[in-house]
Subunit: 361 residues, 2 copies
């Protein structure tokens, strides 16, 4: 019996992959029932408290119960979420992220992108670090309990303790020129209702760790999506503040106390965005429509005055198209706009000098 | 009598402002008729051969014939053109360009932009050179013969001999977010039918001087507007070639023999575009929707191996809006795309090294 006791009330369970193999020939009917009842309780508890989706697998000669530690991601802030009868991403405890293939061509196109990107020798090594590691595809029990193909990726937040995360969809246009009229109309409406058209990007979601007692500041997704330019500026400031929700509670603005360690410096988010920008000014391989930038940092570390371990990743490639020798001016324009917002915050907080997005090292 | 004889067959007439004042009391009816007939002939000839729009003004006591040397621009390649009963820009011989105010709010908005830009102390001096000098507005006889308000600007080609000119509308989107639904729909259709959406810019027109015998290569506007990405690449190559129309005549491609002196070098078009780009990465004052970049150079000089006197100007500001603290990501994205096209041509013609739009000086 390799199943570790389940800690209650913890925010995260660290378990090794556990299994129980039961030989019915060596067990009485009563014992088997007892085992199944035990795992049923665990399964309910996991599902209720931690979002785990354990699987029960019955074989002919054995009853094999696998609790493989698949769970919904702790730090997802945007995109499709797993729910009752709804497919959504899962993670395991070995640092992998399982993204269900979307049913229409988006799923196959995202796989096609990862396959192409993985094997493309024209991608510089220093650019690969901005993309999740791709481990292929796998047909597996999804969050709905039935078999479904998944893209297996690196779980970007697995090695982080209390990460703050923000998802920003880049580009003033989220549709490719060759998309269908119906899809273009749908996207155009969303782009115009959000800040995509006006700012060249929109915040899709964010989650900011405050402290163990207060937990996370995580504004409602619908609110985030409907924000205007001033709200976007505020959310980008909230993201690097020790009091991200202070504006609504006290009337005071966010303190931006972490701006320097998260946005600034030679390894900060701004420096990484500028590295990406240089590549986008030249690369004509892909056009990244409706793709997001994920900002992450370890708030616990940053609040203690250590490094923030800030990182930028690109995610969501269901609408990537061939660049055909033209740069991705739509992504690049939005990226430059975001860079200006971040530069402005750094300038305001006196952790930055210069103009035109040059980082003070 | 101050009217200079009209040279025939010349490509450009250099006249001082001429007028003839005729006092009917001192002239016989026969002489007056003769004079009017004479000026009628000149007027027809000017109109037919040179595009001049001389005006005949009859007063009560005098017959005053003014040939004020207003004419349609020689080197206009895009935009509204003066025609029979159609308002269009005029130039005079002192280097001024008279642009009729458009009848709807576009006219007043273009004036508002020039007034704002002229007085804005946040515009760096090295950026002002990219804009035509603004001399105010003037109500004057337009190309239709009736009074109309005009914006008086610097005539950008007046000091050039046989200039080659290209007009490129920048931005994948030519409409501002706050425009009317009808206007957005109209622009979106044009943007998608042209290369605006796919490349982030579209060529609106061009004219390339070949030699005195052959005159100019000036492809049809409708053809230019409907081009695809490959045609755009070809037109950008044609612009700096001594054989711009060779592809259709001989099957050979354009030689790009002037790429180095026009696009390259420390004062070339690429260097100027990069200077503009740096400003656009930072400026949040204006958003330049449906604005064009005008490329100009003196082909005669360049063919003789001298400097090309290449110049980039921004024109057409009827749809400029307030930047509201956000960079013009739409213009910047298109500008970066155009920079990549130009850099590629320079790289192909071995007059350029490096990546990311850095100019080899």
């Amino acid at each position: 019996m390799f199943l570790k006791p389940l800690p209650t009330g913890s925010t995260r369970i660290r378990c090794c992959c556990s299994s129980k193999s039961v030989d019915p020939l060596s067990q009485s009917q009563k014992n088997l029932s007892s085992d199944l009842e035990y795992y049923g309780c665990i399964k309910q508890k996991l599902r209720r408290t931690q979002g785990y989706k354990p699987r029960l697998v019955f074989n002919f000669s054995t009853v094999l119960v696998i609790i493989d530690m698949l769970k919904t991601p702790d730090h997802q802030v945007a995109g499709h979420e797993a729910g009752l009868g709804k497919l959504g991403p899962l993670i395991d405890d070995s640092g992998r992220f399982y993204k269900p293939l979307q049913s229409d061509k988006r799923g196959s196109e995202e796989v096609a992108f990862y396959e192409s990107f993985s094997s493309n020798t024209n991608i510089p090594e220093h650019i690969r670090k901005f993309f999740p590691i791709y481990y292929g595809t796998k047909i597996m029990k999804g969050s709905t309990g039935s078999d479904h193909p998944h893209i297996v990726l690196q779980d970007l937040t697995s090695a982080r303790l209390n990460p703050s995360v923000m998802d920003i969809k880049i580009g003033s246009r989220t549709w490719a020129p060759e998309a269908s009229e119906a899809y273009i109309a749908k996207c155009l409406k969303k782009d115009r209702e959000s800040t995509s058209t006006s700012l060249g990007f929109r915040i899709s979601g964010l989650k900011v760790y405050i402290c163990d007692e207060s937990g996370f500041y995580k504004p409602d997704r619908n609110y985030v999506r409907k924000t205007g330019p001033d709200d976007v500026r505020l959310l980008l400031r909230n993201f690097v503040s020790s009091n991200p929700s202070s504006d609504s509670e006290t009337g005071l603005g966010p303190d931006c106390s972490l701006a320097s360690s998260v946005y600034g410096g030679p390894n900060g988010i701004l420096a990484q965005l500028l590295e990406l920008k240089t590549w986008f000014e030249d690369q004509t391989i892909y056009h990244f429509y409706a793709c997001s930038l994920l900002f992450m940092f370890d708030n616990g570390l940053a609040l203690k005055g250590g490094g923030s371990n800030a990182e930028v990743k690109l995610i969501d490639f269901a609408h990537v198209t061939d660049g055909n020798g033209v740069i991705d001016h739509n992504f690049l324009g939005g990226l430059c706009s975001l860079i200006k917002f971040i530069s402005d915050i750094l300038a305001e907080t006196n952790d930055y000098t210069g103009t035109n997005g040059q980082v003070e090292l």
